[in-house]
């Protein structure tokens, strides 16, 4: 690996740590107000939604079927292993059946 590539790694690592520490200390200002508290509590769910929904929409019908199955399994069993593997299996079967690309 070249020096430049190691420099990139070091730069990315420093940046990542700065982002995290920055967020931690910026959070202090949010906590002070009731509406700030509500924002604060909403962050985890909203972040995951923003991560999942665009990804899901780009996956087509097979992805939606697998996602629906995962959601139903999770709702019914509250067991993440079963639900995740159910979605993976559905995705594999849909590909075998030629429904998914």
């Amino acid at each position: 690996m070249t020096n430049e590539e190691w420099l990139l790694l070091a730069g990315l690592a420093a940046m990542a740590l700065c982002i995290r520490l920055g967020g931690l200390y910026a959070g202090r200002y949010l906590e002070r107000h009731a509406s700030g508290q509500a924002m604060f509590n909403a962050i985890p769910g909203c972040l995951l939604v923003a991560l999942v929904v665009p990804d899901l929409l780009s996956r087509g019908v097979a992805g939606w079927i697998a996602a629906a199955l995962t959601a139903v399994l999770m709702y019914a069993t509250r067991n993440m292993t079963v639900s995740m593997l159910g979605g993976v299996a559905a995705m594999a079967l849909l590909r075998v059946a030629g429904i998914a690309a």
């Binding site: 949010l30 909203c46 923003a50 991560l51 995962t70 639900s83």
Partner: protein, 251 residues
Amino acid sequence: MSASLLSFDQMGRGARACLVPGLAVLVFSFVMGALAHQAHWSLPYIVAFCLGITGASVQAIALQMWSNSADLMPILVAGFAVHLRYALIAASLRGVLAELPFFRKAFALHMTSDSSWAMTIADERRNKGTTPAFLFGGSLVIISAYTLGNVGGYFAALDMADMRRWGLDFAILGVFLCLLIALWRSARVDLLPWFVAALVACLTKNALSGGWYMVAGALAGALAAGAAALHAGRKARAAAAAEGAGAVERT
């Protein structure tokens, strides 16, 4: 006591909670390792990357962009964009990390990944009083899985087609879906912010490069939650005032 990262009991709980996400991460990072091998990354570089930057999306960006150009700056900017959500992740961990001294806080944050964060928040919502050791134990499992997966992928010349045939490209998304269902509180509290987050993320995904859309969606959803709380607070105060006026009239 709770200022320690090394309470084995708590670490064990966190580690167990992260086993399933860890499995998904293992599978996913296997692909990353194979891709890194194709991009001629050396094994020490891969391991240093896994341990130095705890974020798979940064690795994905670096892998994708490094082969196209030799400029550092665009990669740093794109890495910043995909990693910025960790500012929100860190902010939401304030309560859990509150009692730690600075360097332990920084270390715990450095080790945190999407999955160990999400399992920690889910535990906090359910049980309250989740300790930093819970987060740390979970993070250790995820980082180990991530590094091992990368190393495994480096040695196995596996390609994306194999992963897709087994449906494994769904694994991470599946875990996040499960977490969303676990994090759902009620329609009254969550419906509006989640809808706004999804809408803004989808609308901005094509307009903004990198990972800005995730940050934009999350911030918009959080702002919606804040606005809703402000509105509810005002209504409650108005109702209380009306009640108070009624009480005065009655006396």
